[in-house]
């Protein structure tokens, strides 16, 4: 089972520029969470802070009792072995073939025999659908393939916590759908805690158990997906609707005058009520996600503290219960 990640009062700035303040949230063990946010709100910085690559000025990130912000470097290096991080553009080693790239963590951290390494690596390569490309250099393949190779490398040590930095950027909608399914399948197989940073609405709507959103140097909200999906907070509904009207401007926020002018102008077509798309299920043949049962228990336990809209949405989801729609998705990896 995955490991719980507890973030308390995290504050980060670069020089005078504050990135976000006082972010507190808990990634429940084994569940899939998504962090949304307009471009440039420090989503990647947040990911890198979780893993200790960047040091926030205040706050703690607790994983298995190790604080990734303030603990000694030695403990942080040990704890990082629990992580798999998929970088935005793969961050593969340019001088190594895909095979060597994916085998790198195994060769560094385990004493496995070369034949065993080969077996594990080829298994992962098959999972992400890169069979046949293992001998190529990162410079010789497309951006989408680099991404998937980066994912395979992140998976090779069977991580307890998987972080994905914009798994969709640079991918077409079809490949994005495959990646979404792949992430859910991985969660079913590994039962790892996952955090996906993205601004892709399809992933946000179908993949996570929990969602959060960063905007204006704050964590707007974090909680079960229904909370965000039914939220009528202007920032959230603007973002999920992909509209121009709302507090998010071209460069971060709009000033009060622009907002007032917008309110006076004839209201554009009223936003259609958002429908909550059912969450993806693991591909047929895979075990059910163990996190789903745990989440159900957790969410039902806190349901009275949630806003009414979210409450009814959650009840509705769970009322459908076992006959939840399984989307006819082909198995991930074939041909993607």
């Amino acid at each position: 089972m995955g490991i719980e990640v507890v973030v308390e009062g995290l504050t980060k700035s670069f020089g005078k520029q504050s990135i976000w303040r006082d972010v507190s949230l808990t990634l429940p063990a084994g569940e899939v969470s998504v962090m949304l946010g307009p471009s440039g709100t420090g989503k990647t910085v947040f990911l890198k802070s979780l893993i200790g690559l960047l040091k926030p000025e205040k706050g703690r990130v607790l994983i298995n009792g190790v604080d990734m912000v303030n603990s000694p470097e030695r403990d942080i290096y040990e704890t990082r072995k629990l992580f798999g991080l998929m970088f935005q553009d793969g961050a593969l080693f340019g001088s190594m073939s895909l095979f060597d790239n994916i085998a790198f963590p195994l060769r560094e951290h385990t004493r496995k025999k070369e034949s065993e390494i080969r077996r594990i690596v080829m298994e992962r390569i098959e999972v992400v659908g890169l069979l046949g490309a293992e001998g190529k250099l990162p410079g010789e393949i497309s951006g989408g393939m680099r991404k998937r190779a980066g994912l395979a490398r992140a998976l090779v040590l069977d991580p307890q916590i998987i972080l994905c930095d914009e798994p969709d950027s640079g991918l077409d909608p079809v490949r994005t759908a495959y990646i979404s399914q792949l992430l859910i399948d991985l969660n079913a197989q590994l039962d790892a805690t996952m955090l996906i940073v993205t601004h892709n609405l399809d992933i946000a709507a179908t993949v996570p158990d929990n969602m959060g959103m960063l905007f204006l140097r704050e964590l707007v909200t974090f909680g079960p997906r229904e909370v965000l999906l039914t939220s009528d907070e202007p920032v959230v509904s603007q973002f999920l609707g992909g509209r121009r009207e709302g507090p998010i401007g071209m460069s971060e926020e709009k000033d009060a005058a622009t907002l007032a002018a917008e309110a006076d102008a004839a209201p554009s077509a009223p936003a259609a009520p958002r429908v909550i798309v059912p969450q993806l299920e693991p591909s047929p043949g895979l075990p059910p996600r163990r996190a789903a049962a745990r989440r159900r228990e957790r969410v039902m336990g806190m349901i009275d503290s949630l806003p009414p809209a979210a409450r009814s949405a959650i009840r509705e989801t769970y009322a459908k219960g076992s006959e939840a729609a399984t989307l006819p998705m082909p198995t991930a990896g074939s041909g993607a």
């Binding site: 990082r80 970088f87 340019g94 963590p105 490398r153």
Partner: protein, 254 residues
């Protein structure tokens, strides 16, 4: 401004200390070390030999003409040899290690940094200092020491050739004055200098390479700076080491 410079200096020393510590941490990256050793050697051997011939010649000619005016022509050999072994040779080695090897190391680490390869390595729990920097610094030091021997020999031969052939010196006087003035500690300090210079070149190159500022252009700037900073440090350290050496090792001729 001043605090900025001090901060950079402090970080440079911190990296040096970290590298020294990481040298003794298992597992040692032997394969990477051999590859880097071979690379640094391959880019420095030929230029070093080619530079040291004219350098030995210049010293021989200059010293030769001076000693001739003073009427001490028979001591040309000793003087030029000491200059080559103690001063010229470690500096030539250091300039080439920094200029050819160090710049390549800096560019390599810098481009890995901006491609996030180093971040990826850290995320996988592998320390870039131990995995990449230590083998490179050790390779620079090792090549510097060995190259120093080569440059000394080639420089002395060049000086001998020009003194004997061009200036009409006698081979016997050259060799006799050589063994009259030169002593083994001259060679030791020469090799020690080469070792220290190789370390400095490696550390500075790694430091600038690990911290490029702002994208691909930053890597170019970092390479440029690493070579300049290394040169500045080298000449300063060389001055200190020479002064200390002259104080603690009595000259043979006196």
């Amino acid at each position: 401004m001043i605090t900025g410079a001090l901060r950079q200096t402090g970080r440079l020393f911190a990296l040096a200390a970290e590298v020294v510590r990481a040298v003794f941490r298992r597992p040692f990256q032997f394969r990477e070390f051999v590859e880097q050793f071979w690379f640094v050697a391959s880019v420095t051997i030929l230029p070093a030999a080619l530079v040291s011939i004219p350098f030995g010649a210049v010293i021989a000619l200059q010293v030769g003409s001076l000693t001739e005016q003073l009427g001490a022509q028979s001591f040309t050999g000793g003087a030029s040899v000491l200059a080559v072994v103690q001063q010229a040779s470690p500096l030539i080695v250091a300039l080439l290690i920094a200029g050819a090897g160090g710049s390549a190391i800096c560019a390599d680490l810098g481009s890995r940094r901006i491609r996030e390869e180093l971040d990826a390595m850290e995320v996988m729990g592998v320390s870039p200092v131990q995995r990449l920097v230590v083998p490179r610094v050790l390779a620079a030091m090792g090549v510097a020491v060995l190259l120093n021997g080569l440059v000394s020999v080639v420089g002395i031969l060049g000086g001998y050739f020009f003194n004997v052939i061009m200036q009409g010196g006698t081979p016997g006087a050259y060799l006799a004055s050589f063994s009259a003035l030169a002593q083994l500690p001259d060679l030791y300090v020469s090799e020690l200098k080469a070792l220290v210079f190789g370390f400095i070149a490696g550390i500075v190159a790694a430091y600038r390479g690990l911290n490029p500022r702002g994208g691909p252009k930053g890597v170019g700037d970092a390479v440029n700076q690493s070579v300049v900073i290394t040169f500045l440090l080298l000449f300063f350290v060389n001055m200190v080491m020479t002064a200390v050496y002259l104080q603690i090792v009595p000259p043979k001729g006196g």
